[in-house]
Amino acid sequence: MTRMTTAAVTAALLLTASTAALAAEPIRVGVVTPLSGTYTPIGQQVRWGLELAAKEINAAGGVAGRPLELMFEDEEANPAVAVQKAEKLFQVGKVDFLTGTVNSGSTLAVGQVAERNDRLIATTVSFADSITADKCSPNVFRVNARAGQQSAALAEWLSKEKPKSKVFYLGPDYEMGRSTVAAFKKAATDKGSAEVGEVFAPLDNKDYSQYFGQLRASRPAVLYTSVAGNDTVRLLSQMEEYGLLKNLLVVGASGTVTSQNIGAIGKAAEGFVTGVGYSPEIDTPANKAFVKAFTAAYGKDPDLYGADSYGLLYFYKAAVEKAGATDTASVRKAMEGIQWATPQGTKTMRAGDHQAVQDMYAVRVTGGKFTIVGSVPGEAAIGPDACTKF
């Protein structure tokens, strides 16, 4: 079988050829991630994060004395392709562990493949709450923050910054858009804020001014939006033209303003606040070392996908070394409740639903860059365990 082992890992293996690690049978980790299509930038971060971690782990003697070997497959962000590639890695590639899926459809479908093949997977990107709630699986772990944690962190920050504020909600009119608005609304209302209005604009909307009358009339102190991509560019630019951004705090989902569209939004993005699980700005020695190594290797800053993927291999390493084996049952048992160090700080894998608990951050756009304006301890953002399957 052809194995798409990357140059970096090969180089890393060659570097460590003299150590004892290579003498042992490698531990294979399959990576099913989008390497082509719309989600390529995310897949790229996943790949860089994993490759950097594998290089470091192998240079330090591997996992329980065995080197890590990464095997990549392109899932094209299509669950139908992802399950096929996952089966290939499980059955032909004989991987011990699998990760990389980006859209939640792929994660759920691949999780089912893992169940039927008695293997473990973890996602480092998908944030749909269902993966570790009503659709949880004993074979699926999530090391990144889910949507609920992001909105809980933002709501927590908002309740401290602007207690009992009047919030107006503007979301894109599709399933994901509606569920993100609903999730944040619940979190914010629980913390004492009041809803003064709600509209859903079509995806790819060209003109938002039709909603501005309603927005002005309800006199909100805060606007929550979960539009993304170019929709955010149009929404915020038009709001600035109409002078609506004065005395209004704009908060939103983590995908609303990103490094990809912040340039196009320009000044109108100033002051936007969101809740995230990672920022390169985190001021800890571990994160500084990680950002430095990442930038030196790939010429770009890591984003949350890169950081969470990097942390994943340390999670796997910790679990395998705790279990003293690589078989599914022992590793699963070791993973449940384990604590491990990541650039974001120490994370804990909750045993009840396989969701990582981590500190969350509120970040604000200042001078065109995200700066941390507050942090929320992991326990305050995690929410109840809603998994009943195991």
Binding site: E87, K88, V92, G105, V113
Partner: protein
């Protein structure tokens, strides 16, 4: 061998060569399936099963494109209707193979009639656009319907056992389910090949050649186009109904243009208007995608270049390219068509 080696009495019959390829293909598939079973393989058998399932979709495109002369850019719609119907039945009603297939036929015939009435109002490029649009609309609706799993799709379709009367096939058994799907595709091929040789099929070919003249022969072209459309929808839906049995989930991506487009490419590479060409094409392209996809992330470029080369070198597709040669071998000295 089932092939009649005696020279054809009068006309060299074009289908003989195609049937020979079909017999060859299904024999080879059986042999490889047996090999896979003997080797205890699971991945390749299941990949081949998936290739055969998508072969059903490609055959349905061929009924429209190769025989009736209608390019459907939205055939994935019917594949998706079958897949979702089957998934919902198996998950929420009863884990019964026959119920899922029966419900698929009923739903598709009803929905296909409605779709056909819309799409058959127009011809040519407009037909292509309407079919494309219909598929996009339904895909978006499914994508946003929480009851159908929305963008995440439906997981948790159980692994069923299929009673066949004389034996019981376990869908989780790679070799068993491969054999079942192979038999179904062979049956579909045989039935469709028979139908296309019958007066019904000849009327479709007449519609492709010159639709305005068909009424002069006493046939109603619209009725035949409708029948061809509903038939093709059902073939695609039956193939789609097998998908969740194999993979255990459905997702809206199955209805997207990528699926429809791949089916058209499969038909063109395999050979338009041959029925077996799409089956051969599906198996080849699925194998190619799996191998090239592992080899490089630029697999789409590689597949695209191969597709262009195959269209330039073999404009009639794989089966179309070997047919004249095989025909000569089968019918002695007579010249190919």
């Amino acid at each position: 061998m089932l092939i009649d080696r005696a020279p054809a009495p009068t006309l060299p019959r074009a289908r003989d060569a195609v049937h020979a390829i079909a017999v060859l293909f299904f024999t080879a598939a059986l042999a490889l399936g047996a090999l896979g079973w003997w080797a205890g393989d699971s991945f390749y058998l299941r990949l081949a099963t998936e290739a055969l399932i998508f072969a059903g979709l490609a055959m349905s495109v061929d009924i429209l494109l190769g025989y009736t002369g209608l390019l459907s850019l939205g055939q994935a719609l019917w594949f998706g209707v079958g897949a979702y119907t089957s998934a919902v039945i198996l998950r929420d009603v009863a884990a019964s193979f026959w119920l899922a297939m029966g419900a698929t036929l009923v739903v598709t015939t009803l929905a296909g009639t409605v779709g056909g009435l819309i799409a058959n109002r127009v011809k040519g490029v407009y037909f292509a656009l309407i079919t494309f649009g219909l598929a996009q609309v339904v895909a978006k609706v499914v994508y946003n319907t929480r009851e159908l799993g929305a963008s995440d799709g439906l997981i948790g379709v159980p692994e069923i056992t299929i009673p066949l009367g004389f034996a019981t096939v376990d869908a989780a058994n790679p070799a068993g389910f491969f054999l079942l799907v192979l038999a179904l595709v062979a049956l579909l091929y045989a039935g469709l090949a028979y139908l296309m040789d019958a007066p019904f099929g000849r009327t479709l070919i007449a519609i492709r050649a010159n639709e305005k003249r068909v009424p002069f022969l006493g046939f109603n072209p619209l009725v035949h186009r409708m029948l061809a459309y509903v038939l093709a929808a059902n073939v695609a839906a039956l193939a789609g109904a097998l998908y969740p049995m194999l993979r255990g989930f459905v997702s809206p991506e199955l209805l997207f243009f990528q699926t429809s487009g791949n089916a058209v490419i499969t038909v063109i590479v395999g050979g338009v208007g041959t029925l077996i060409g799409p089956v051969v094409g599906s198996v080849l392209l699925t194998a190619l995608r799996s191998v090239v996809g592992t080899w490089t992330e630029h697999h789409l470029i590689v597949i695209g270049v191969l597709f262009m080369l195959s269209v330039v070198v073999m404009p009639k597709g794989l089966v179309g390219a070997v047919r004249p040669w095989l025909q000569r071998r089968l019918s002695g000295s007579e010249s190919p068509r």
